[in-house]
């Protein structure tokens, strides 16, 4: 366990030693801030109009601002993942430091978990940028906090899944650009899967739909924790980390 934390700590340090961590946090903060500005502006206009016309439309901060925004955040994380994971193994293989890690008394699994955990913590830091905006909503409105927490849990699970896939891709190459590009493509495909099948209802369609990463986030964004979604994400994380460790045993991948 201490080796996992040691490698995790090392990963985090190198993220923050380079501009990459700050850049990603700034990008996410900007996009999310822009999103919340538009959503709040439209919400204000809508509720103002409703008042003028004397209608009593049930308005809800959670449903109209937070839920779509966190859905938006889940889409952004598709774009962030490749940039987080592309260096994980590709860089170590390029610079030869992988030889140090793999000839030290640590297991492959400890290296893989440490790196994944490091990437996860950076992802948490990036997500935390949205707290600034949400804190303002909580200061002036009265949204329900539970669905927000559930949505964040969903974001974490989805992120963990994508990061594990990215880590797997990164171990296959020593070229960071290829690692990033392929990861982006895979993430995009997983996202598009439910588009392809949106008008189908056959068995194939439902299986393909089940594999889509985004469909499982829907319930979380509504504030509902469904066991099958949690199991889907956890099993995807497990599977991706497992094939990473299998790939690591192969000699093609090592040097």
């Amino acid at each position: 366990m201490s080796s996992v934390l040691l490698i995790c700590q090392k990963e985090l340090k190198s993220y923050f030693a380079s501009p990459i961590a700050y850049l990603l946090m700034a990008f996410f903060g900007l996009i999310f801030g822009f999103g919340i500005y538009t959503a709040t502006r439209d919400f204000m206009r809508f509720s103002f109009q409703a008042q003028m016309q004397g209608q009593s439309v049930p308005i809800n901060l959670n449903q109209q601002i937070i839920q779509p925004l966190l859905g938006f955040a889940s889409t952004i994380s598709l774009f962030l993942t490749p940039m987080i994971t592309m260096r994980l193994f590709a860089e170590e293989k390029k610079t030869g430091t992988i030889e140090l890690l793999l000839t030290s008394p640590v297991t492959d699994l400890q290296v893989i978990l440490g790196k994944w955990l490091g990437a996860m913590l950076l992802y948490v830091c990036i997500l935390a940028m949205s707290m600034i905006n949400l804190a303002l909503l909580f200061a002036w409105g009265k949204p329900d906090i539970r669905p927000v927490l559930v949505a964040f849990l969903g974001l974490l699970l989805q992120g963990g899944c994508l990061l594990a896939i990215g880590e797997f891709v990164s171990i296959l190459t020593s070229n960071q650009i290829i690692a990033g590009g392929v990861t982006f493509f895979v993430c995009l495909m997983l996202w598009l899967l439910n588009w392809f099948t949106s008008f189908d209802s056959g068995t194939t369609a439902s299986i393909v739909n089940y594999l889509s990463i985004v469909t499982h986030f829907d319930n979380f964004s509504k504030g509902v924790i469904e066991t099958k979604d949690v199991i889907f994400y956890l099993s995807m994380i497990f599977f991706a980390l497992f094939i990473t460790s299998r790939a690591m045993e192969s000699r093609h991948v090592r040097s």
Binding site: S2, S3, L6, K10, K13, S14, A17, S18, T95, G96, T97, I98, E99, L100, L101, L102, T103, S104, P105, V106, T107, E249, R251, R254, S255
Partner: protein, 326 residues
């Protein structure tokens, strides 16, 4: 300490290491020699559990590299060809990280880090980013990393590459001081380095073991033939160089006479004997009987360089032959 039996490593189409077997005793320094692409790095990578062997067995301190990888890893320090350093870390930070990675107890860690920095002469750059260091410093940080946990076995892939002459001498001294407690395998392409710091040499070429012996034995074994330099005094074209050459060629046991120099009143010849023939006495007698003035006579040993070339090129010729016949 290290035992390799029938080790073979195959890449997709190429055979990198072909049934190599050797043993290294505890406390020895062994030099690993071979031309580029001979399989030195591959063999080292198998010994450090970085790559699994395709065939054969390798054990370090009695532990198999496949079955007891953890026990092997705990006992080895490895310096790869490119020092495995993180450019974004400071030297102290990096060595502390490696120390933790190698399970050095935390109360001992600081002392060990300072100790290896002292040994490898990197104390003056301790708070510099490794990315800003020169190749020589990086190499020494890499060496510090390999010895930080005081491993039984040290495996060094070209430890002196990129260092300046003074640092090379210091590094060699450091490596020699580590012998005794540590078993060391080092690969190099600098032959004089092997002659100076290694007790035994393993020469491989194209994945095959060509020779394994002590440096002295190897030199003797291949020095069946003796080479002698004879220098005469000459004034005004006398004695006649071609006459001298003819007379020397007639001495029994001489296989070849080559004139090296005929300027400034000197006549120098390099004379090679047939295998296992002593020719110096006869040569001296011939010269003196002819009435010439003998300035100098000395025998020149074949250097490890010659042996290395002889071994590795004859190997190539053989494979060429095979290539033609098949």
């Amino acid at each position: 300490m290290i035992k390799v039996e029938g080790l073979t490593k195959r890449y997709a189409r190429t055979l990198a290491v072909d049934h190599i077997s050797f043993e290294v005793e505890k406390g020895q320094i062994v030099g690993f020699l071979g031309p580029n692409g001979a399989g030195k790095t591959t063999t080292m990578r198998v010994l450090t559990c970085f790559l699994p062997p395709s065939e054969g067995k390798a054990t370090v301190a009695g532990f198999d590299v496949l079955e007891n990888a953890m026990d092997v890893k705990r006992r080895i320090g490895y310096l790869p060809e490119t020092p495995p350093v993180y450019p974004e870390m400071e030297v102290v930070e990096y060595l502390t990280f490696v120390g933790k990675l190698k399970h050095i107890p935390s109360n001992d860690l600081r002392r060990r880090v300072n100790e290896v920095m002292e040994k490898c002469a990197v104390t003056d750059v301790r708070t510099k980013l490794i990315g800003k260091l020169s190749k020589g410093y990086r190499q020494r940080v890499g060496l510090a990393q390999a010895i930080i946990h005081n491993p039984d076995v040290l495996i060094l892939d070209e430890p002196t590459s990129g260092l300046d002459p003074k640092q090379i001498i210091e590094t060699r001294g450091l490596i020699q001081s580590l012998a005794g407690d540590h078993t060391i395998i080092l690969s190099t392409h600098i032959l004089s380095e092997v002659e100076q710091s290694c007790e035994r040499v393993i020469i491989i070429s194209q994945g095959k073991l060509v020779a394994i012996d002590s440096v002295a034995n190897l030199t003797n074994r291949l020095r069946g033939a003796e080479a002698v330099v004879v220098e005469l005094e000459s004034t005004g074209g006398r004695p006649n160089p071609s006459e001298v050459q003819q007379r020397l060629e007639q001495v029994s046991g001489v296989s070849r006479v080559v004139m090296k120099d005929s300027r400034n009143g000197r006549l120098a010849f390099e004379i090679e004997s047939l295998p296992d023939r002593q020719i110096r006495g006869d040569l001296a007698r011939t010269v003196v009987n002819a009435g010439w003035n003998l300035n100098e006579m000395r025998s020149i040993g074949l250097s490890l360089e010659d042996i290395f070339l002889q071994l590795t090129t004859s190997e190539e010729k053989e494979t060429e032959k095979v290539g033609v016949t098949t």
